[in-house]
């Protein structure tokens, strides 16, 4: 197992060929996404082994969110292939849960917190099945997990940014997925929320689930994640944080933006 871990998983999996090799939670090959005539993501390969917790990190406009959206089928790539647990997206939807950027929706929508969490069950319920007490219980349990149990009947427009983010996480939790994909989960949230979210994510990982998050705060990469994917339109470096989170790699990802690169370099040596 150690030998496999040290190898690049995407190469090792087919070579290994045996039953014990789990398909990667996410594998991306040759992915290119363009807006208009400008590639936002160019020819990116990425492989995330199951049970890992990966940060996608890069400067603004580096294609982090675009990469995630292409993986989720929300933007159409020009080329490339995406597989989740070895399956195409259409057959893997039951195993993934998405936490979009908080700012991507209108929080004045007429809904209570519990209604939003219950939307996480829409796929399971389909058009016709009724919402039963056990579904409500599940939604409440997920709210409790993110510390929002007292807010179930609160109108979502009355929540703070951090509370909104935790509701979004609860909506994903109720899906009981194997891979959680989060877009900037810590953007604009209070410190307490950030701690609560990371605690939940680590619990999920301890349960054997996989997590990948677009992340922008270099100072917390080490503490929060075990794998790192550095991107700036092209893939810069990928692998365990200890190997990839180096001043040299960050310099390559962030280019001349020395301020941030130096901060990160400090984090590496310190």
């Amino acid at each position: 197992m150690v030998a496999i871990k040290d190898l690049d998983p995407v190469k090792s999996a087919p070579l290994n060929g045996g039953m014990q090799a789990l398909p990667p939670a996410l594998s991306v090959a040759g992915l290119t996404v363009a807006y208009g005539e400008k590639p936002a993501v160019f020819s990116v390969d990425m492989t995330l082994a199951q049970g890992t917790m990966t940060a996608i990190v890069g400067p603004n406009g580096a294609g982090k969110s675009t990469l995630l959206k292409a993986v989720l089928g929300l933007v159409k790539p020009l080329s490339g292939e995406v597989r989740l647990f070895g399956l195409p997206l259409s057959r893997a939807r039951d195993r993934i849960a998405y936490v979009p950027q908080r700012a991507s929706v209108d929080w004045d929508f007429p809904a209570r917190v519990i209604d939003v969490v219950l939307m996480g069950l829409h796929r399971e319920l389909g058009l016709l099945r009724r919402i039963r007490p056990e579904h409500i219980d599940r939604a409440h349990a997920c709210l409790a997990r993110v510390g929002m149990q007292d807010f179930a009947t609160r109108q979502i427009g009355q929540l703070s940014g951090g509370q909104q983010q935790r509701v979004f996480l609860a909506r994903a939790l109720v899906q009981q997925a194997d891979l959680y994909l989060l877009d900037e989960p810590f953007a604009g949230v209070d410190a307490a929320t950030e701690k609560a979210i990371i605690a939940v994510l680590k619990e999920l990982q301890a349960e054997g689930r996989s997590i990948v998050a677009v992340h922008h705060d270099l100072s917390t990469v080490r503490a929060y994640f075990d794998h790192l994917f550095l991107i700036n339109t092209r893939a810069i470096a990928a692998g365990p944080v200890a190997d990839v989170f180096t001043a040299q790699n960050l310099q390559r990802a962030y280019g001349g933006r020395l301020g941030e690169a130096q901060l990160a370099g400090g984090a590496v040596t310190g």
Binding site: L74, Y98, P110, M119, R123, L127, G147, Q175, A192
Partner: protein
């Protein structure tokens, strides 16, 4: 006469027409709610105006084939076809040009309506067109409506309602968070198309009753009014149905007493009255409720500030604060606290100390983040937790 109309005592035909209109109004309010929540309310305006050339062409074709140009199912089919073309054009323009949705809507709406008016003028000059009275499709009229027409409208409204009920979950999900809905496997494009199809169905059904110029009001005003009453999506949808149904019913009944009045404007005015009432009176988001909430919040802030000032022996300069504390018997006119005021002030100070202790405890981060200087700590912690917190407090001043 109006009372008789409202209580359905004007005979079988008028009753049938009123019930058909009511069902149409319910369907319009309910369908329009989802459109409103998807923030695409204006599309309905394009849909309705784009029906006109289809109506004109259908009339001409039916007359040319030797039939009755006013045969309703034929007119409705023509209306549906041309508004469908209009919708496709809007979608095409948004995808293949850099026009935004509102510009595409404006272009389609005006061109189709213009073409329709030209066709109506042509029809007026035709022999069969003389007594056609096709201009009732502009503003609606229930006068002279056939029983079969009323039944078509009622049945169509019922079918629309059933389909909306079936699609309510995906339509809400797409309205709130289309990306999330797409990732969980909802075909957003298809749901949007279905929603537009339902809007088109309501529009086409409503042409004879409300008229195509004003049907948009019956799709938009009821949801907007209902939104003022509730923060719960499905309750809003149901209430919009009630408001739409009531408006259409009143409109149809009134115009049964005065056949010269166009039905559409009366229906729209009825719904506007309900909207105006909602805007002022609704307890959730109405104007009066908003003012009352703002005043209550202002009083809470001043009361809290005043008590904290009293607690540390500061003088209160703010006249509003002083008047507030006096009215509640917490302070005298000269700003000296009464006994009750002293107790309340001490309690306020203790609360602040408790909050401060809570916020200093890193393990309590999530609870402490609910501090806003006004929330009472009892609403966040249990009595046991407060007692536990009090043990950590330094001996507070002024409280025994």
């Amino acid at each position: 006469m109006i009372w008789q109309a409202l209580t359905l005592q004007l005979g079988y035909n008028a009753t049938l027409v009123a019930l058909g209109a009511t069902l149409l109004g319910i369907a319009a309010g309910v369908t329009g709610s989802f459109l409103f929540l998807r923030k695409r309310a204006l599309v309905s305006d394009a849909v309705s105006h784009a029906t006109l050339p289809g109506i004109g062409l259908a009339f001409i074709v039916m007359v040319a084939l030797g039939g009755d140009g006013r045969f309703l199912p034929g007119l409705l089919l023509g209306a549906a076809l041309s508004s469908g073309v209009g919708l496709l054009l809007i979608a095409w323009m948004m995808r293949h040009t850099r026009l935004s949705e509102d510009a595409a809507i404006g272009a389609v709406l005006s061109v189709f309506f213009g073409a329709g008016i030209v066709l109506l003028t042509v029809i007026q000059s035709m022999n069969a067109g003389r007594q056609a009275g096709l201009d009732t499709v502009l503003l609606g009229s229930t006068a002279g409506m056939l029983q079969s027409d009323a039944l078509v409208i009622a049945a169509g409204g019922a079918v629309v309602l059933l389909l909306v009920l079936l699609l309510r979950r995906p339509m809400l999900a797409v309205g709130f968070d289309p990306d999330y809905a797409a990732v969980s496997g909802t075909n957003v494009g298809r749901i949007d198309l279905a929603m537009m199809g339902l809007v088109m169905a309501v529009t086409v059904l409503g042409i004879t009753t409300v008229g195509l110029i004003l049907i948009v009001a019956l799709l938009i005003i009821p949801p907007v009014a209902a939104r003022l009453w509730t923060d719960h999506a499905l309750r809003m949808v149901a209430l919009a149905g009630v408001i739409g149904g009531l408006s259409a019913y009143v409109g149809a009944a009134v115009s049964a007493t005065a056949p010269a009045l166009p039905t559409g404007p009366i229906i729209v005015l009825s719904s506007f009255v309900l909207f105006a009432l909602s805007l002022t009176l609704a307890p959730a988001r109405g104007g009066l409720a908003l003012i009352r909430r703002q005043m209550r919040f202002r009083r809470r802030v001043h009361r809290r500030q005043g008590l904290l000032a009293l607690a540390v022996g500061q003088t209160i300069h703010e006249p509003f604060t002083l008047a507030l504390l006096r009215r509640e018997g917490l302070a005298r006119a000269d700003g000296v606290p009464t006994d009750a005021g002293r107790a309340a002030a001490a309690k306020a100070l203790l609360d602040e100390a408790r909050w401060a202790a809570l916020r200093a405890d890193p393990a309590q981060g999530l609870t402490a983040s609910r501090y806003d200087a006004l929330t009472r700590i009892e609403t966040v912690l249990t009595q046991d937790q407060i007692a536990e917190l009090d043990r950590q407090l330094p001996k507070p001043k002024g409280v025994s």
